[in-house]
């Protein structure tokens, strides 16, 4: 187990499957839904982590994320292991940064009215992002856009992000994304 700052540059072999790629991109979308300047924040964080070689600009970051088969403009073939490791590091670092917001969303001690408002705002933004970037003709995307069926999944993603923060977060998230 190592701290995020000690993990650059990534070198281990992580070959993500189709489901892993979908979850990875969804987690990044959740980050964007939580942080209004999410995409800018991701680039800034990747530079801070020493990932300039993998993501020198927005376009390269976007291209890596396009390996998700649910995207409108998706790239065929598996993602490079260095790139997937870099994305995992990036998610964990963003989770660390957004930990207070994540915590608020999953806490049962927050006032229920405020909690509901927070969830509604977050859901609205996330569903907008999914509708904008994912291929709406696919059944899996339509299922994601259905509020009733997607509620538990989104909560699971928030918990996953919260558990990805901290020193052991990278190992936990990597194992989660490699689930078969």
């Amino acid at each position: 187990m190592t701290y995020l700052a000690d993990q650059s540059p990534p070198s281990s072999k992580t070959v993500l499957g189709r489901r892993g790629l979908e979850r990875l991109d969804l987690l990044l979308l959740v980050v964007e839904a939580l942080d209004l300047n999410g995409s800018q924040g991701m680039l800034w964080t990747s530079n801070k982590l020493g990932l300039q070689a993998q993501f020198p600009n927005h376009v390269e970051l976007w291209k890596s994320r396009c390996h998700n088969p649910l995207r409108k403009a998706n790239r065929r073939g598996p993602i490079d292991s260095t790139e997937s490791e870099a994305l995992i590091l990036l998610i964990c670092s963003m989770a660390e940064r957004l930990y207070p917001s994540l915590r608020q969303l999953i806490s049962s001690n927050e006032p229920s009215k405020q909690q509901q408002d927070r969830w509604n705002m977050f859901f609205e933004r996330l569903l907008d992002l999914i509708g904008e970037r994912f291929n709406n003709r696919r059944g899996a995307v339509q299922k994601l856009l259905n509020l009733e069926s997607t509620d538990a999944l989104i909560r699971q993603l928030i918990v996953t992000l919260a558990f990805s923060a901290g020193a052991g977060g990278v190992d936990r998230l990597r194992a989660y994304l490699l689930d078969t």
Binding site: I106, S107, V159, G166
Partner: protein, 200 residues
């Protein structure tokens, strides 16, 4: 001289107290021998114990968090284990069993947010270079399909094969219920011109 370290994340605070192991040449401000630990969770009873309890806490919390991330709610720890954890309606129920006889087990239930705080405290302990204790840390491994399938209800798991078999049986039954076409001997057609004209 006793050394104390504190790991804190929002509502969770983990305090470790111990000594450097001088026989191994450990320097000051290190813990090689853990004498006690305390886990303070805001508004909940204090959990404390010895090194075996903390080792047990690490051994159950880490794999539990891994399964929980994948949406699997597992009971970790057995009846003999000092620490158990399972999912309850209101969150994660942690049970601490005392090694002394006649002491009732202590139970605390925490929500996802508090569990995340506790997990971060444990992560901090495990990476702290000042703690020179060799912990048995369970490795995070990807879950196999067979492990994940248990979370899918039996009705949903069996729906597709049942639907497939019943469709096959339905079509087979329908096909078998159709009357078989009558076999006509061609020689009869040649001999009986009336039959031939009827068929036309």
């Amino acid at each position: 001289m006793k050394v104390q370290f504190r790991y804190e994340h929002n509502t969770a605070q983990l305090n470790l107290e111990g000594l450097p192991d001088k026989s191994l040449g450990q320097s000051e401000n290190k813990i090689g021998i853990l004498s006690s630990w305390q886990l303070k969770l805001v508004n909940l009873p204090l959990l404390e114990g010895k090194i075996e309890h903390l080792q047990s806490l690490i051994s159950v919390i880490l794999p539990y968090s891994r399964y929980y991330m994948s949406g699997i709610e597992r009971h970790m720890g057995d009846s003999k284990s000092p620490i158990n954890i399972c999912t309850s309606n209101s969150g994660h129920k942690i049970t601490l069993r005392s090694s002394q006889e006649g002491v009732e087990p202590l139970e605390v239930t925490i929500d996802d947010a508090r569990f995340a705080d506790l997990l971060r405290c444990i992560d901090d302990v495990l990476i702290d270079e000042r703690i020179l204790i060799k912990w048995k840390v369970p490795e995070y491994l990807p879950l196999k399909y067979s492990e994940k399938i248990n979370k899918i209800p039996v009705t949903i798991r069996l729906a597709a094969p049942i639907l497939g078999v019943s469709t096959l049986l339905l079509f087979a039954g329908f096909y078998l219920s159709l009357p078989a076409p009558e076999l006509i001997d061609k020689t009869e057609l040649k001999e009986d011109p009336n039959l031939s004209s009827k068929l036309k």
